[in-house]
């Protein structure tokens, strides 16, 4: 307190009486009871409003993420398809170009050969012309020799001697030339035959090659309608031929059986108490998704899944009638107070109910049976993304490890039970109870998961997947309540599913 407001009698008087007054609570200085409840209500409202402020963000974020992923997947899928098609076209064009080059080079060779043949034919014609001249000359010589033989028939030896010895007769030179020309002509003739033969063979080869090329040329168009392929068990079980280049994006859908365990810690409300509990459930799961291959080992997957879990169970409890315990009379009716432990996908619930026993004449120690049928239902949709790493791959089988994050929407979480009371075979009373567990739980929650997937690809894009994963909610699933109980959902899933890759 400052000096300036210390000294004043009036102030001092008020200060001494009103500062830290020691007065008993009286009507005038005690606030109404509803002030505290009003404050609590206002605080709860504030919390709800804060949540509402944050909640639409999740509402918007999840579909937005889905939209973005789907859009990106669509764009990238389309682009990869286009790239694939362009690659195919490019490969086709390259094949065509190679074929054309071969044809062009062979055409050039043919032209060259044709030119050679033309030149050789010209040379041949020239030789034939020379040969004909020589033949004429030889004929003249022969005529002259014949005339001489006629004229000098008795001296044939001498003539032959003259012919064979060019130095003996001046015509001998001509005879020699004639012989020589004849020899040359003979040789030339043989060569031309061979040449023509070769040319003929060559031409035949060209024709054959051209025919062959005409067969190699542009591939015929595939029919637009594929022939109907009859699927058989063998065709399913055939291993898929991995001839095509692997696509970066792959879309798939699968349906499978789920074997799941849920574990939840304490949650309670006025009606029943849930304790730690482990329980296994069967269900189905449906999945549509896409995978993007980052490289040979890593891939990203985006899935939209749905899990539906049902569990029907029955348990029977046999008691003995004991008037001092669990039974009491109310309005002249005998009532049985039965307590139950109820298993549910979300854990173990304890409850207590009363069954009417009127009209039954019971004696101490009589056996009493109560039978409880429980039907539990849990439906969860999830949008998840995961990073996958290929641990092992052999042929069409691969083992992948994955770590992921999922956004879940709990559509339904309820259980109903029918409790029947029997006296021997006679049903005395039954009661049906239904509990909506969503009243206690948040409908939206985030989960992380880690798992292993064994996948085998078969023919016709069919694949079989065996999966096992551990999942855990990232925050409490319990709605805000007075006890501020924190509840996490976690457990193991194993699944077997068959799917189709698009």
């Amino acid at each position: 307190m400052s000096k300036e407001n210390k000294y004043n009698e009036l102030e001092q008087f008020f200060r001494s009486r009103l500062r830290n007054p020691k007065v008993e609570p009286e009507a005038w200085n005690v606030p109404d009871d509803d002030i505290l409840s009003g404050a609590f209500a206002a605080m709860d409202k504030e919390v709800k409003e804060e949540k509402k402020k944050g909640f639409p963000l999740m509402y918007i974020l999840a579909p937005l993420l889905l939209f973005v992923f789907t859009f990106l997947a669509f764009i990238i899928f389309n682009q990869s398809k286009q790239v694939e098609n362009l690659n195919k076209e490019l490969a086709h064009i390259k094949t065509q170009q190679n074929t054309e080059q071969v044809v062009a080079s062979e055409d050039a060779q043919i032209n060259k050969n044709i030119q050679t043949i033309a030149a050789q034919e010209e040379a041949l014609e020239a030789n034939q012309y020379t040969q004909s001249i020589n033949a004429d000359a030889a004929q003249n010589l022969e005529d002259r020799s014949f005339t001489r033989r006629k004229h000098d028939s008795n001296n044939s030896f001498a003539f032959s001697q003259k012919v064979n010895n060019p130095r003996l007769d001046r015509n001998a030179n001509l005879a020699f030339n004639n012989d020589a020309n004849y020899f040359i002509g003979k040789t030339k003739e043989t060569s031309i035959v061979a040449e023509e033969k070769a040319s003929s063979t060559f031409n035949n080869n060209i024709i054959a090659k051209a025919f062959e090329l005409s067969q190699v040329g542009p591939k015929p168009m595939k029919p637009l309608v594929r022939p109907l392929r009859i699927l058989t068990l063998n065709s399913f079980l055939e291993e898929k031929e991995s001839t095509s280049t692997p696509s970066k994006w792959r879309a798939y859908m699968s349906v499978g059986h789920l074997y799941s365990s849920f574990k939840m810690n304490a949650i309670s409300n006025a009606n029943y108490t849930l304790e730690d509990y482990d329980k296994y459930y069967n269900g189905i799961q449906f999945l549509v998704g896409s995978t993007y291959s980052v490289n040979e080992k890593f891939s990203l997957s985006f899935d939209l899944g749905f899990r539906g879990i049902h569990n029907k169970s029955t348990f029977t409890k046999i008691n003995s009638y004991d008037s001092a315990n669990e039974f009491y009379s109310a309005e002249n009716e005998l009532m049985y107070r039965a307590s139950f432990d109820i298993t549910s996908p979300l854990g173990l619930f304890s409850d207590e109910m009363e069954l009417k026993m009127d009209g039954i004449d019971m004696s101490e120690g009589d056996p009493m049976k109560n039978k409880t049928n429980i039907h539990q239902i849990l439906r969860v949709a999830n949008l998840s993304t995961a990073l996958n790493y290929e641990l092992f791959s052999s042929g069409n089988t691969s083992l992948n490890a994955s770590v992921g994050l999922s956004f879940n929407r709990l559509f339904e979480a309820r259980h109903k039970m029918t409790v029947k009371m029997y006296d021997g075979a006679e049903e005395m009373d039954n009661k049906l109870f239904q509990y909506n567990d969503l009243n206690l739980l948040r409908p939206f929650f985030w989960e992380s998961n880690i798992g292993l997937n064994l996948r085998r690809d078969f023919a016709n894009n069919i694949f079989l997947n065996l999966g096992a994963n551990y999942h855990r909610s990232l925050h409490s699933l319990t709605r805000a309540n007075a006890n501020n109980a924190k509840t996490t959902l976690h457990g193991f899933n194993s699944s077997i599913s068959i799917g189709y890759t698009f």
């Binding site: 009036l10 102030e11 609570p25 606030p31 501020n484």
Partner: protein, 176 residues
């Protein structure tokens, strides 16, 4: 349960602990509200706002720096000031009229005034007088601080205090 334990639980937003705190301090908190507000209904509203502030800000309370009572009283005072600010367009420091100065003789003629009567005297002061008087005399703020808190001049604060003194003196003279 010790106060420290209750505060610890209240920090965890335990409703039972918050309720226990309320029951332990409600009278003192409410009397502060009664001094600042002109009637019980307004004081109740101011207290409700104060409770929300106390429970939501209790994590900031550090026992080393002071007692819970003084810490929570400051919050109650601030809450009252916020309430007055919200429910009156602005502090009306010129509202004093001669007719208000006429103190109606409606109090007991005991020699010693009760806390209730003194509180009522303050309640009956005009809002400006009342607020400055409470802040200066009972909370121990200086005029500079009051001027800052109420966004008025130091002179106004001083004159309001002077007038409140004068009025209370008149009232006391009537009563005593």
């Amino acid at each position: 349960m010790q106060l420290e334990e209750i505060i610890l639980l209240a920090k965890k937003q335990d409703r039972k602990a918050q309720t226990a705190l309320y029951h332990q301090f409600k009278s003192g908190w409410f009397m502060i509200c009664l001094r600042y507000c002109s009637n019980r209904a307004d004081a109740s509203d101011a207290l409700q706002n104060a409770l929300i502030l106390i429970f939501s800000k209790i994590e900031q309370f550090d026992a080393v720096q002071g007692e819970f009572k003084s810490w929570s009283s400051k919050i109650v005072v601030n809450s009252c000031l916020m309430f007055l600010r919200k429910n009156t367009n602005r502090f009306q420091f010129n509202e004093l009229k001669e007719d208000i100065l006429m103190y109606e003789e409606q109090h007991t003629q005991d020699d010693v005034l009760s806390v209730e009567e003194m509180t009522k005297m303050i309640q009956e002061l005009p809002i400006g007088y009342r607020t400055v008087f409470n802040l200066y005399v009972l909370e121990g703020y200086t005029h500079v601080e009051i001027a800052e808190i109420l966004e008025i001049s130091i002179g106004t604060s001083k004159s309001q205090l002077s007038k409140s003194r004068k009025l209370l003196k008149q009232k006391l003279e009537v009563v005593l």
